[in-house]
Symmetry: C2
Subunit: 243 residues, 2 copies
DNA sequence: CAGTGGTCTAGACCACGGA
DNA sequence: CCGTGGTCTAGACCACTGA
């Protein structure tokens, strides 16, 4: 199976929503109708619908139908649900991205980092600090820590092109999940020196912990974003569990 | 069926993770084993596991098993995945919350709000502006707009206790989904006057659009949060779709 | 009442990981 | 090779909505 059938259905339906074929607040065809169209069972259609629901495209209503609740994308957003490297987000929004390496060194996980990330204290890591420029404007400084057992070495060339492409294509590391935490902190002198803050005195800090498909917590990254152009979007649902 | 079986299983497993019975980085029993334990089919167990995955508790690994990737909650967080009113979040974190009403008036949706929220221009709305104090510290100012067709009227008493409790218990409105967008803006004079910023000059703006179970977009809210103690967390997954 | 989505079962086959 | 999770089918019954 090249692509799971439910995934194809998901992408087809998503396309119809984004193109406006199924408009804002309209109802989709019923699950039975969709099952006929895609020549599969209702269960498979339901898996595709579950993805649409999770990503905020539609809302299901028992006894009524499935309603479109998203409008064609209005403004660009850099961080949305899903795992997307800054590279990918920049490409999607058609904004040129460049990266300057600030430092690259080896070390071990100290107690504080172990507490914050869940990495094992004392594990060997390689740390990279980078400045990211979007449309030639320096907006993000991030510091990443990789387990050397998963990422044995990095070079300036890799770091300034795409670490993720290197991880996936050369090392065969597959990212499985990332947990992110967003907070706001006062800008440091370094922030002010490095990134474009338009005079504001705080930065958005996105801390993320990443696991690979083998279940290893191999990356911990702290990104300091300029508030300028920062946006994050998600959709939540009331589950029966929460009643 | 009082509670869906998969939901009970989800809650049981989540409890075992939060209590540490299934520890960080450990593997859960296999799906077949869990199906036996809960006397159901593998499909039902899988629905429960899907919830745990979506909420960042575990990660599944084909051929290997299901690994715990969350640690017992370290620090408190106000905004997490899921729909939770500030009331509920404050209760969960055992922080006293109080609310002062600043204004309450009627109006209609103008072009700008229609564009931002998706509400129909010209629809009648009731708008409420409130100041929220956590632990007696004023941290949030929010302005909410409700369709009068769904929420015909509000009183100061309702607004200062809990609008959501009123919606659910009195009006029978059930919230189905909420899409939120987080950005950072420069603090206004009003922000500085009303909320505790510790000298910082920006605020976190959370805009949310809410649908009820009948599929009506009935609420649009903009909350301006002090950066102090603001945190938002979510977990993302690499889907086959994104490869 | 018919049609919709929500839950659950039973069973099949596949892809992957590790011993 | 066996056990794991991933996909899919076929069919049943329930709860809810709206005409």
């Amino acid at each position: 199976m090249a692509q799971a059938k439910y995934n194809q259905i998901f992408q087809t339906l998503r396309g119809r929503i984004e193109s406006g074929a199924y408009g804002f607040l309209e109802l989709l065809p019923s699950e039975n109708t969709l099952a006929e169209e895609f020549k599969c069972t209702r269960n498979t259609v339901r898996k595709a619908l579950a993805l649409l629901v999770a990503q905020g495209y539609v809302q299901t209503m028992q006894g009524r139908g499935i309603q479109v609740i998203s409008r064609p994308r209005a403004t660009s957003t850099f961080l949305v649900g899903g795992i997307e490297s800054l590279q990918e987000a920049a490409a999607r929004n058609q904004v040129p991205l460049s990266t300057h390496m600030i430092s690259l060194e080896e070390g071990v996980v100290d107690a504080e980092m172990a507490m914050a990330s869940g990495m094992t204290e004392g594990a060997e890591i390689i740390s990279v600090k980078r400045l990211r420029l979007l449309d030639d404007v320096p907006l993000i400084v991030d510091t990443s820590y990789f387990l050397t057992s998963v990422v044995p070495q990095l070079t300036q060339q890799i770091v300034e092109s795409s670490i993720y492409a290197y991880l996936e294509e050369v090392l065969g590391v597959r990212v499985a999940s990332a947990t992110r935490r967003i907070t706001v902190e006062r800008a440091t002198d370094e922030d002010r020196r490095l990134i474009h803050l338009e005079g504001m005195d705080c930065v958005v800090v996105v801390s993320s912990v990443t696991f690979d498909s083998a279940g290893v917590l191999f990356e911990y990254t702290r990104s300091r974003h300029s508030p300028v152009d920062f946006a994050f979007q998600d959709t939540a649902h009331r589950l029966p569990a929460e009643r």
